[in-house]
Symmetry: C2
Subunit: 348 residues, 2 copies
């Protein structure tokens, strides 16, 4: 029966008190360099591993993590669900998660909410879905300097000093869509792409990933056009309609941003549903029927729930000082088909 090494064992081994062991182990001030070294090497040789449960239980002050994200737009409700799930798991660990919802990605209260969480709520870490890739940089950097770690979710502020970004790999998302389209169009054919705006990094990367695979595909598939639809339903529908009329022989459509029902409806209205391959992105209540009736051949699902969950997990593990992760923290996208869609319930 393998016995656990505890701080007491270390104290005995190093000939000090457990208070001192604690100082050494956690880099707290007020300890002699040599003493610290002695404790640390004892920990090393004895193979000490901190018990996270005891750590959480013994902590007097509770850890507060703040979150700011949009309330409705796109898949944010699913991110929120993931955050809440993590929060429930961490409740026993004396952690509390406080959230602020903005109306949409452009909401200028974003900065205000951040300040509020830090100043009033006194959170010791933040998870954000930044509405702009650079606008928050200064604020993020300031907070990072003050020792408030920040994780971005889904959207990023890559040039800031945020701890890491949790998201899917956009380019890879496009590649996977390309894999499928390439498989579907063995006989070659024309395709079009619908995206939000090529100025948005995430959108551009997806299109690039898709293009790279399509261009490397041996069956002579062509991308006839890339439509920018600005995430507006009407523009999506128009793009689909336009594509079908301009390229009557069109065989495939890749929708690289949230696939709304409007594009599907347009395809159906033109009598081409189930004939033109439609590969979409992300899952919503609205497009589930279109997956089930075969209008949407496949969806690349970015697992927003998992993204939210992971962000909180990362922040907590960072705060309890056992960090491990790079500058980006990718969540694996899932491919959804007619008979797998039921596994991926979503809240939006």
């Amino acid at each position: 029966m393998r016995q656990r090494i505890t701080v007491k064992d270390l104290a005995r081994a190093a000939g000090v008190s457990i208070g001192t062991v604690d100082r050494a182990l956690n880099g707290r001030p007020g300890i002699n360099v040599e003493t610290r070294q002695r404790v640390l090497s004892a920990a090393e040789t004895l193979g000490y591993r901190r018990n996270k449960l005891a750590q959480s239980l013994g902590r007097k002050s509770q850890i507060k993590i703040g979150c700011v994200f949009p309330s409705r737009y796109s898949f944010y409700p699913d991110i929120e669900a993931g955050i809440n799930h993590a929060a429930a798991t961490l409740a026993d660990h004396n952690v509390r998660v406080v959230s602020r919802r903005t109306e949409n990605l452009g909401d200028e209260r974003e900065g205000m909410f951040i300040d509020e969480l830090v100043e009033a709520e006194n959170v010791s870490a933040l998870a954000l879905c930044p509405s702009h890739s650079t606008r928050l940089n200064q604020k993020i950097d300031e907070l990072a300097a003050r020792g408030v770690p920040i994780v971005t979710i889904a959207t990023d502020a890559p040039a800031s000093r945020r701890l890491t970004c949790v998201s899917t790999d956009s380019f890879n998302n496009g590649q996977i869509a390309g894999d499928l389209m390439c498989g579907f169009l063995r006989e070659g054919g024309r395709t079009v792409v619908l995206t939000g705006s090529l100025d948005v990094t995430d959108h551009e990367r997806k299109v690039s990933g898709f293009s790279s695979v399509i261009n490397g595909c041996p069956h002579g598939i062509e991308i006839a056009h890339v439509y920018e639809t600005h995430d507006v339903a009407a523009e999506c529908a128009d793009a689909v309609t336009h594509a079908l009329q301009t390229y009557p022989e069109l065989r495939g459509i890749y929708v690289s941003t949230s696939t709304g029902a409007s594009a599907c409806q347009a395809l159906k209205d033109q009598g081409r549903a189930g004939e033109v391959y439609l590969i979409g992105t992300d899952l919503f209540q609205q497009n589930i029927p279109f997956v089930q009736n075969g209008t949407i051949q496949a969806l690349i699902f970015q697992n927003p729930f998992e993204q939210g969950r992971k962000a909180i997990e990362i922040l907590y593990s960072h705060l309890s000082s056992d960090t491990r992760f790079g500058p980006t923290n990718f969540v694996i996208p899932s491919i959804i088909t007619k008979h797998s869609v039921q596994h991926f319930r979503c809240y939006c």
Copy 2:
């Protein structure tokens, strides 16, 4: 600052000691029915929620969970990795996982190992990959009667009194493969299926799921033949070769059991790699190259790691008495393509 309700609060509210509260809360003997009721209703009204951390930390005796599974065959190493991962996570919770490896699915030491774990190692729960769907029923039922909960992984003993089975939904696996094949063969065409043995429930269900989708597919796809290859590499290769020669116009192959390199190699040897659609099952070091070079169009991955992880998680949550799960506990299969295969590292 929301304060946590603890046993002390309950003790005060019910006018008893915390020892009594513990007896009431955990159904321990030696407590008056009325007292128990008083405590329980106090817990109810105050909204008491047990702190799992404190529970683990306070537990004197460590919980031991035993596992028996094959060592090599198929994806068992990945299941084992998942089990070990869960074990590492639960280490802080004063839980220890003890494993016994059989040589293969037919190993008669399986029963012996189970006895050994229960009698000698004194485990309080078991996770098994039963080698036969009924042969272990009696033993499982006996142990269940003795209060040793058992979870089956990947393979099942459905008629036994096992707590639950963690696996993917075989029929659904086949359906998903069917979705893809149906998408690939828009122009119709002939396909064949390779499976282990139709006598094995799991294999039969996958074939059925695939067939159901193919038959419901509007493009007139035909399943020309179902080969039983008994999970023997040579038989797989022979089946592929035979199929290509018998049905020269063959357009698709669905391999519903672990897709070995042999089938891919046969396809390549016949000069049809990358032309005939090959949809396989599960990921192995050996077939990764074939996914990357386009011989395998897609894999239905049963996430063995997750299955192992989940089984242990379920057993632990059952032992610490907050159970929640049905007779089967499905893990969602993943669809793997050329550009997503790198996300799914495997150990076998």
